[in-house]
Symmetry: D2
Subunit: 298 residues, 4 copies
């Protein structure tokens, strides 16, 4: 059975590692805050003292961290993944990072005679627990085949997108649509609420009609109830839209809707909503129309 080093035990990483353990893989875990390793050690994992150690004795290394900075912290330096990598190892990063950093990291792994996949996911923490994530993969197709069994344990769908960076690009393009769809919903709600329509009925209409979207399904009722409990934060959405802006600038793609969406989420961030759910961007509109979407009409 393959031996896996798993680095990054947050709300996504911990259940992903747990599913690999359950499926019978030998898993060595590492997390910056070491205490998060305990539950997995109880389920049979070994614990490494550094990313290097997590990489050293394993065939496959998986990383699941939060952003470009974390990737550099985990891969580089004397205690980093790269310094411990075995020749022939497969390295899989499931984080959402910039395509440029993907390519740099892939090159470094290749220098060490390893093979790298960028494999970001969609799906939230319940999907990580249930093993129903969707993976979009960039990298060598053979490397994917050699590690397909792992992805099938962690996810329900594996979409191969092309060479290294393609997984990252797919994630960014996907999230661009998410950001714009959420603004569409916010703007539609603003018109409805300011015009005195019953917003519950309006939401019902949206979901029955051709305006329907996952955004409406996941966030519509919460917006009416002013529940912005974080599922995917406005700050992370803004980060991804900035990655998309940079990507389209580099590729020479005019992307006016994306760029306007970026400006509006940036306005939300400056208003202090960064740590709330991305749907809190609707509060920009609530300030403009002078009422909450869910306010009952007198």
């Amino acid at each position: 059975m393959k031996k896996i080093g798993f680095i990054g035990l947050g709300t996504m990483g911990a259940p992903m590692a747990a599913n690999l353990l359950k499926a019978g893989y030998e898993v060595t875990v590492y997390n910056r805050t070491a205490s998060k390793c305990a539950p997995l050690v109880n389920q049979g994992a070994k614990q490494a003292a550094s990313p290097k150690e997590a990489a050293a004795s394993n065939d496959i290394v998986i990383t699941m961290v939060s952003n470009d900075q974390s990737i550099e912290a985990v891969y580089d330096g004397s205690e980093g993944v790269l310094s411990g990598l075995k020749s022939g190892a497969i390295v899989i990063d499931c984080s959402t990072i910039s395509p440029a950093l993907v390519k740099q990291t892939a090159a470094k792994v290749q220098e060490r005679e390893g093979s790298f996949l960028d494999a970001p996911v969609t799906g939230s923490s319940p999907a990580a627990i249930d093993g129903t994530l969707v993976f979009m993969i960039g990298g060598n197709a053979d490397t994917l085949e050699k590690s397909r069994d792992l992805f099938e344990v962690m996810g329900k769908k594996i979409l191969y997108m092309g060479p290294n960076g393609s997984g990252a690009v797919a994630k960014i393009a996907h999230n661009t649509i998410v950001g714009i769809n959420n603004l569409a919903l916010a703007e539609g709600f603003a018109i409805a609420a300011k015009s005195g329509l019953p917003v519950d009925s309006f939401l019902e209409l949206v979901q029955l009609g051709s305006a329907g979207s996952k955004a409406a399904e996941l966030k519509g009722r919460k917006i009416i109830e002013h529940d912005f409990t974080n599922q995917f934060s406005l700050a992370l959405m803004l980060k991804d839209l900035k990655l998309a802006s940079s990507l389209t600038d580099n590729s020479g793609i005019p992307a006016p809707m994306l760029n306007l969406a970026k400006s509006l989420f940036q306005a939300g961030q400056t208003e202090g909503y960064g740590d709330e759910d991305l749907s809190s961007v609707v509060k920009i509109y609530e300030a403009w129309i002078g009422q909450k979407i869910g306010d009952k009409q007198s």
Copy 2:
């Protein structure tokens, strides 16, 4: 059983009138091009020679035409609905027109001692045939109750939105979301295609992930296949976005995404795509990226 005058026998109006006939109502039909009356007369309808005559002997008048100009042609003048209206009649317009014209028309109906509902629909021709339209209603709630049986024959859902004009506003706000979601899809596709991703897989990702939408479901595959057969035309979407722009200007609602969407669909119209499906707005992006979304990578 109620007696109904039904004016406007296009792809939506004809099946709506047919369903009323099937349900046992006495229906008198009128259409500008009289030949379209024949199939309904064969199913038992009477034929009127003018909108006035269609209104004259009936308790309820339903109109289903294409825009503000058609409404004025049907209601006003010596042969118009208004000149033939019985005291106490209920007048229902199912077209998508401006809230301002709704209010004017409602006032004219009231002068004639009638009662008016604006009742635009979502759902395309199959839903009109199956009697599964969604109605959003503006007007007096009692008038709606008195005519609810008709709506239940023609549709699966009746959403009451408030006083006259509210149905029209709901439709406009709904279609604003439709327009923006379609642009989100187009822009996401442009990024994916220009970056060399397999767009089939990308579409699968969108539909599995939180970027999913009716727009992706209804148009995604067609965009890849460059099939822009008209289901709801770009010109009509542009018309509705202009109504929305005017509505938000009048109400003092900042609506930057709507206004940008309007500009992009206007660009599509100037490129000559007005009579194609609204999803053809993606061709703006295809020109920009220099390739079709569905082009295979070499």
Copy 3:
């Protein structure tokens, strides 16, 4: 010497009428608030009791009011300009109104056997006092020639733009540029201030470089000093951008910058800046960057 009826004695109209008096014309004035007539009567004007009376005995009627509503109030009804118009009279409106209303009003004047010019101005109150306004004229070129002497008294430049409505369109297109240039300045200032640059030096740079504009010249220093004393109000700018949005929608012109500018000025209006100078739109950016443009760095 021509006899002139002059209606509307605001900050622009009063000095314009005074210049006509000084040049020797017989001027009959009317203003809704009658007390504003006194200074002009002291300078030799006659006072009329209604727009009708101001029109009745004169060869030329000039109107200078604030918007579409005021035009209708002054022209229509039993005491309106139209009811008193002499056959062969020339009617000149110097207000900024919609091209549609210009055309309607011109048609009504023509029914009365008069001839109409739309003749909006640029230039503020000092230019009205000095007789250095710039006129943009729509209407019959012969009518312009017959009244050119009056324009030369009130202004320094007379630009003929074409048939009725062309003057109004020119004004709207001009003000579209004004609105966008002011936002360009605001956004440039926001970048400079947030980056800690000395904004005085930045303004100097703008005016020396190719970024220079009347907006920078007229508003730059005032923005740094947070002086938003009304010269041309944000509400009026927003009104003109809405006219421009409607005009471009009707003409089928994609105008993305205009439409975004409209949304931003609308945001300014909802924030309560409508009665301040249009340059107060910069306060939207000040809220976003969390500092005033003119704040000294510590």
Copy 4:
């Protein structure tokens, strides 16, 4: 008299170096294409064989190249400026580059015990010849004082903007305004032309009114004459707007107008106008309205 190494003899650099020679400085020149050194050698300059040699024996080194890539080519490597730098030398870069690269380069110069100024300019080639450039300076204020005499030879105005990077930021914020003002002009022209106004008169109006700008002054007539001879290319403007987009993303400044402008210039680039003057962005609008701005109406 100070000894100066001058690197980069393009349309801007050559006359700047010539002015320094005329003022009596000892100048050693270097250019990648060595033949461009000849005219300056004829005027008394020495010629260096590499950036390193141009730096080696001089108190001050000035670089004037085209972009980030050129800077790295000139400064780094065994034949680069840095490898030849004298302790205590002042290094001045007059190119327009990213603030991030300014800071990196400044740090490298400081490691070599030199002092760095970012000193981009506004003004075109005639201003370089006349010595009337405007400099915006980032870096140590003392370093500026020590080299002020040189700037006074080359320019008419020296604006100190703050620590290293501030000169670059000032240039980017300045050019953001230039880009938006040019789009404002294009959009105003589109409205005027499509509405059938005489565009010469409209341009006169713009320049007389509060819509006036350097953009209108420098480009207005050329747009009417469809003369897009390159003065400052659309591609360079797009590059600067991308720098500004990146800068505002990093600083957390919502900049919707800038981002939309970027998308429109990007569209111009994809249409193939990159090597024409930036004012050629108007051709986007000409395609949309189906006529050239300067077309005579029939």
